[in-house]
């Protein structure tokens, strides 16, 4: 099957590449653009380890054809820290030990980032609902919830 032109901006970098129509967005991100921070944990769209921001909202990059993302702007975990400066969510994840094996962490960070962008001060219930799709087998989620809550409470305002 002949490849088609995909124009996509990932972490503020514009790319033009040719991909087979059957390629999933996550495959293009990991294999073509070598952004392996985005993980895959299942084949049934059930674990959300592959979560990325697409035009500002969270999506499962394993459940979107790359061609469907033509002309969009994507942010992956590699795009969260700018110029080596960690984002508030990232710093809070560090302080609260909100990760263990780290394999679900990229998707979790993206979900958390999207939530804070949309609702700067979510309730605990809203936090749980926002990361409901992201499976973490290590932490039991509560440290992640604490980390997001801390950001919501303004503990990581951009200053230092």
């Amino acid at each position: 099957m002949e490849k088609q032109l995909l124009r996509i901006t990932v972490n503020n970098e514009y790319h033009e590449l040719y991909v087979k129509p059957k390629r999933l967005l996550v495959e293009v991100l990991r294999d073509e653009l070598e952004l392996t921070g985005t993980k895959r944990g299942c084949n049934t769209g059930a674990c959300c380890a592959c979560t990325v921001l697409l035009n500002g909202v969270t999506v499962k990059s394993c459940s979107i054809l790359a061609m469907q993302a033509d002309g969009t702007e994507v942010t992956t975990v590699e795009g969260l820290a700018e110029g080596g400066k960690l984002s508030p969510i990232q710093r809070s994840f560090l302080d609260h030990g909100a990760y263990q094996c780290g394999f679900c962490t990229s998707g979790m960070l993206i979900s958390a980032t999207a939530l804070i962008n949309e609702k700067p001060s979510p309730t605990k219930k809203q936090i749980k609902e926002a990361i409901h799709g992201n499976i973490c087998r290590c932490t039991g989620y509560n440290s992640i919830i604490r980390a997001i809550k801390a950001v919501a409470e303004g503990k990581y305002k951009e200053e230092e």
Binding site: M1, Q4, K20, P21, K22, L24, N43, T44, G45, C48, T51, L54, V57, T58, V59, K60, S63, I64, L65, M67, Q68, D70, S111, A114, E129, A130, H132, G133, N134
Partner: protein
């Protein structure tokens, strides 16, 4: 593994219908693809042509008119419905239904049209829209037609959509006064598909004393979302009391036609239909009796 296919992205409905016509019998339509891509990855679906309607802007809208009600374009995402203010105001049950549908990620990309066209009896929108008396608009290259959503569902993963036909719009009539519509699904993990789900819509008589009209819709309790019409009849024209509520629950569970799977036995599903029907009828009744805000 996903088999290769020819991919074409339609920008307008006209273009899409043209492509459907061209590839008759040998295509699949993808919108959000949240269900379709899983089937394709498992090799259960392997179309020669994939027609992408996700980016057809004229299919993505939510319009409300006080006279003729709500119209939702087929390519509207679940999140857009969940966050729409007219929906919040006039059809609040849709908001709670959407909030409990799968993950945020799925709702952000998955569409209402795709969900209904998938024809999964365990889907959430089906029962609720049927309870709200929804109709759906479809078109092929020649003509347009509109049918009640109830008649849209044919069997497991089978709908009334004909070859070459595209789902365009879901339409909801204006909600009559003194009406309440409620929905609940039973699951073990929040936002999973319901092991059983029940939507109930009740309209009270003017005096607010007895039931004027009722719709009881069961999800995951048969091969399609079904109305428990006998149970509805028990309620219409009556005042609700515990004795009647018991009868309605029992009747609904008789009308259900569930199958056993790894998540629940047939008996347990019938029990759940009874329990949830009772809960939802009670809830809708109490809400419908409250004077409108």
């Amino acid at each position: 593994m996903i088999r290769d296919f020819v991919y074409s992205k339609a920008k307008t409905v006209k273009e899409a219908l043209g492509l459907l016509e061209e590839h008759k019998e040998n295509y699949k339509i993808i919108c959000g693809g949240q269900s379709l891509l899983i089937l394709m990855r498992q090799g259960l679906v392997a179309p020669a042509n994939l027609i992408d309607i996700k980016s057809i802007e004229e299919l993505s809208y939510i319009n409300f008119k006080p006279k003729d009600g709500l119209k939702i374009g087929a390519a509207t995402t679940h999140s857009e419905i969940e966050k729409s203010s007219p929906v919040k105001k006039h059809y609040p049950v849709l908001v709670s239904m959407e909030k409990n549908l799968a993950s945020v990620q799925t709702r952000n990309w998955g569409t209402i049209g795709g969900n209904l066209a998938h024809g999964d009896p365990a889907g959430d929108p089906g029962p609720v829209f049927v309870a709200l008396n929804a109709t759906v608009k479809m078109a092929n290259k020649e003509r347009e037609r509109t049918i009640p959503l109830e008649e849209f569902f044919i069997d497991y993963f089978e709908t009334a959509l004909e070859d070459g036909e595209l789902l365009l719009e879901v339409q909801l009539p204006v909600v009559p006064p003194r009406t309440a519509t409620v929905y609940e699904k039973f699951n073990i993990i929040k936002n999973d598909q319901g092991i059983v789900s029940v939507a109930v819509s009740i309209t009270m008589e003017k005096k607010g004393s007895s039931c004027k009209d009722a719709r009881i819709v069961l999800g995951a309790a048969a091969s399609i979302p079904i109305r428990a019409k006998k149970a509805e009849k028990l309620l219409i024209g009556q005042k609700l009391n515990n004795g009647l509520l018991e009868k309605i629950g029992k009747r609904a569970s008789k009308e259900a036609d569930p199958v056993a799977d790894i998540h629940a036995s047939e008996e347990y599903r019938r029990h759940l239909v009874e329990a949830l029907t009772k809960r939802m009828v009670r809830k809708a009744w109490d809400q419908a009796r409250k004077p409108a805000r």
